[in-house]
């Protein structure tokens, strides 16, 4: 977003010397009377006005990000969509890649075994009158080589010799057929083989489905989720069962729906766990003990604080829930503010901490 506050416009126009001498004087006089403006102008002196604008635009965006939590949520949704797309992309890539390499091998075999007869027939029909037996033998050899090349190149064969084009086309068709056969075969095969490789992707997909499905998922569905209800509290096992659900393929949608609804329930449970210091409770305690500044006359006891976390895990909106003394409260807030970051499962977590005064 472009920052276009009145004051920036005036500052820019002053520095770009767009103003007449009188206007410039008015602005300078205003600055002489207003130390805020005066010092700001001193700061901008070293900057190009384009740089000024760019810096302010960047700041505007950062300000937007801070005042619009909804914006963050939107970007999270975006990220989820991108992740889903990438997940699908990767799994497709794996499936196709595996299939292609299989097709290469299979096509090689099938062309060598199956396509002998049609090729001979073809040559008999097409070339009997035109090609001498000698040339026939040569052509056969060349065709054979060409087929080998072709199958090695996995379909990227382009007919270099116009003579052979006719003869190889039906064979190519044949190999395409066998390719589609083998595709079907390798598809299931690679599904089995890439079952473990694709596990991650499956998880991602399931997780993404959760976003969509969980909107409709009712608690009724959750109650019905018999296979998944056993693994309520174990997301890991949950994932395993979801993976197996995709393999069995029967009533996948139903299972996924149930599973995702349970996952949502577990997700809610996780959200309720309070934030804890990212460095660990004991490390946080030792940080407090090390940095706490006490003065004489401070009473012993605890100050209880409640706070929210920003997206960086920094405590914000700190409030004293149990006061000890004004200085103690301030010190406790200082320690929390300058202390290590916290981590929580949800974005809008509210945490509590007690600071002990010795």
């Amino acid at each position: 977003m472009k920052h276009d506050s009145e004051i920036l416009k005036r500052i820019k126009s002053y520095f770009m010397r767009r103003k007449s001498a009188d206007e410039a004087y008015e602005f300078e006089l205003e600055a002489e009377r207003d130390p805020f403006l005066y010092e700001a102008l001193e700061g901008f002196e070293s900057m190009l006005s384009s740089d000024m604008q760019q810096s302010m635009d960047e700041l505007d965006d950062r300000l937007d990000a801070k005042i619009k939590p909804a914006f963050n949520w939107a970007s999270m949704k975006m990220a989820a969509t991108v992740l889903l797309t990438i997940g699908i992309g990767i799994s497709l890539y794996f499936i196709v890649f595996n299939t292609e390499s299989k097709v290469g091998e299979v096509a090689n075999e099938s062309v060598e075994t199956k396509s002998y007869e049609p090729r001979q027939n073809e040559l008999v029909f097409d070339t009997l009158g035109e090609i001498s037996p000698n040339a026939y033998a040569v052509a056969e050899e060349e065709t054979y080589k060409a087929i080998e090349d072709e199958s090695a190149e996995n379909g990227t064969y382009a007919a270099n010799e116009p003579d052979l084009e006719l003869k190889t086309t039906p064979i190519q068709k044949e190999s395409v057929e066998s390719e589609s056969d083998s595709y079907a075969w390798t598809d299931t095969q690679s599904k089995k083989e890439s079952k473990f490789k694709a596990n991650d992707e499956d998880d991602t997909i399931i997780a993404m489905e959760e976003v969509v499905v969980s909107k409709n998922a009712t608690s009724h569905g959750f109650v019905n989720a018999e296979p998944a209800s056993a693994s309520q509290d174990k997301p890991l096992r949950l994932k395993e069962s979801s993976a197996s659900a995709t393999v069995t393929e029967s009533s996948v949608d139903y299972a996924a729906e149930n599973i995702s609804s349970t996952e949502k329930r577990t997700g809610e449970k996780l959200e309720e766990t309070p934030p804890k210091p990212a460095v660990g409770k004991s490390a946080f305690d030792s940080y407090v003990n090390k940095n706490i500044k006490t003065s004489e006359g401070m009473p012993r006891g605890t100050v209880s604080l409640s706070f929210e976390l920003d997206r960086n895990g920094i405590p914000k909106k700190i409030q004293v829930t149990k006061s000890l003394c004004a200085a103690c409260d301030a010190e406790a807030i200082r320690l929390l503010e300058n202390g290590p970051a916290w981590e929580a499962d949800s974005k809008k977590a509210t945490g509590n901490v007690d600071i002990q005064f010795p």
């Binding site: 920052h3 009188d22 004087y25 009377r33 700001a40 700061g43 740089d51 302010m56 300058n338």
Partner: protein, 181 residues
Amino acid sequence: MANAPTLSDEELYRAFLSTQDTKILGEIYRKNMALVFGVCMKYMGEKHEAQDATMEIFERLLTQHIKTEIKSFRAYLYVMSKNHCLMKKRGEKVIHVQITESDMELAMEVHPIDESERNEARLKTCLNELKDMQKTCVELFYLGKRSYMEISNELRVTINAVKSNIQNGKRNLKLCLEHKS
């Protein structure tokens, strides 16, 4: 106070204090952000550091609630920005210092020469006691109503020299006026 900011900033700030709506504070801040950034540029000297400081000051505004009534949001913002940058610059951990009314008054104090009703007679006598260059610059600016650029061209000195001469001249003028009264 000369150049008093519009009432709306203070009203909006009060609205923010009662509703805790970050959007309101965001809009007041956006209006004044260029000034904050400029001050941060002056003290931090580097663009990215100044940008970081500008955002930190906003966060402080969000979390820190002044106990006394704010007469001028702008003055409050100015003192806060300056404090924050100075502490950051010194490498100190920025702690929450409660900004008092007197801090703000001191920061936004208006020089006698900038006041609309000034005692011309006393000013004249004190002006004559200033050093040559300071006197010339102050006279040209305040009485001659010339811009820095014009004075700089006229006296063949840099704009910065003109500005510092005016600043120092004003300081000495103030001392003289206080002494005389």
